[in-house]
């Protein structure tokens, strides 16, 4: 189809080309082949003019290899550094959160029998359960300080648990 197109329109194109050449006063060339010099110049344009020696190639390759290896090492070192930093941070947090806790002076809350940090009905319940089961109860559970751990301590603990802090009535 392309050939048909060119066969049909070749005379027209030739005529147009001649007309333009005439107009621009360019001498027409009847030879459709490229001049030899131009052809050679185009060929030389895509041919490396200087051949690269093999040892230079090797040098370039080795230099590139060294550079890439260095970068790879840097990336790897950065990864290990991040892991090490995270580990140090974790150890520090753990140290301050857990290890140092027992060494800090703890204030004993009066009535906190089960040691959960507050006085609530569970403290009274623990003492009452110990009394009901006839267990040997620690003297620290003697909240009212009368020398014995009994129902009075249970009642006192329960009252402490439900005591509402005084505030203004709405």
């Amino acid at each position: 189809m392309v050939r048909i197109f060119f066969e049909r329109f070749a005379p027209l194109l030739r005529f147009t080309g001649n007309a333009i050449m005439e107009e621009n006063k360019v001498p027409s060339d009847t030879n459709p082949e490229l001049p030899e010099e131009l052809h050679q110049a185009i060929v030389n344009l895509h041919t490396p003019p200087i051949p690269v020696p093999a040892h230079l190639d090797r040098l370039i390759l080795s230099a590139a290899h060294v550079r890439l290896t260095r970068r790879k090492r840097a990336v790897r070192a950065l990864g290990w550094g991040s892991i090490a930093a995270a580990a140090v941070l974790l150890i520090t947090v753990a140290r301050f959160s857990f290890i140092d806790k027992p060494s800090t002076p703890q204030v004993a809350i009066v009535g906190d029998v089960n040691g959960d940090g507050r006085v609530d009905i569970l403290d009274a319940f623990v003492v009452a359960r110990g009394i009901a089961h006839h267990e040997k109860l620690p003297q620290t559970w003697d909240v009212n300080g009368d020398g014995v751990v009994d129902q009075k301590d249970v009642d006192l603990l329960a009252q402490m648990a439900v005591t509402v802090s005084k505030g203004p009535k709405r």
Partner: protein, 150 residues
């Protein structure tokens, strides 16, 4: 005779004034009433050996006048509470039972008697502070408040 006419005229004027005024608006001030509030705990199948909750009256003129026990035999006795809280708008109530017959499903664990004044409908907010099993370990439980017939 003249005096009688004047008297009739005055009476007619007064009657006309009373008729034209129409029915008088009466502002009904609601007298204080007493209500019973049931507090329910659902321990979701685990025996409830101890509980502690805080009840706050968020709106309304509410005065706590008394506390009774709940439905289950383990909590039928009045629970522990601060008697000073009867005059406040919040109260902490707690109880425990060291026995083995304990409620494991939703049950009324306390009944609060309150005096409500004014026209604002009271609104309560109960917060469960402690719910524990027989081994004194905390258990998951829900608390709710409902009006009950005393």
């Amino acid at each position: 005779m003249k005096l009688r006419r004047v008297a009739i005229l005055i009476c007619a004027m007064v009657a006309a004034c009373l008729i034209s005024a129409g029915p008088t608006e009466v502002v009904a001030l609601q007298s204080p009433r007493f209500e019973a509030i049931g507090v329910y705990i659902d321990p979701h199948g685990k025996p409830l050996a101890a509980y502690q909750f805080e009840l706050v009256a968020e709106q309304g003129d509410v005065t706590l006048v008394g506390i009774q026990g709940g439905d289950h035999p383990a909590y039928s006795d009045p629970p522990y509470y601060d008697t000073h809280a009867l005059l406040a708008d919040r109260i902490v109530v707690a109880a425990f039972n060291t026995g083995s017959d304990l409620p494991a499903n939703r049950t009324r664990i306390a009944t609060l008697m309150v005096r409500v004044g004014g026209n604002i409908e009271p609104k309560y907010n109960a917060r469960l502070q402690v719910a524990a099993s027989s081994d004194a370990k905390p258990i998951a439980a829900d608390i709710s408040v409902e009006g009950v017939n005393p």
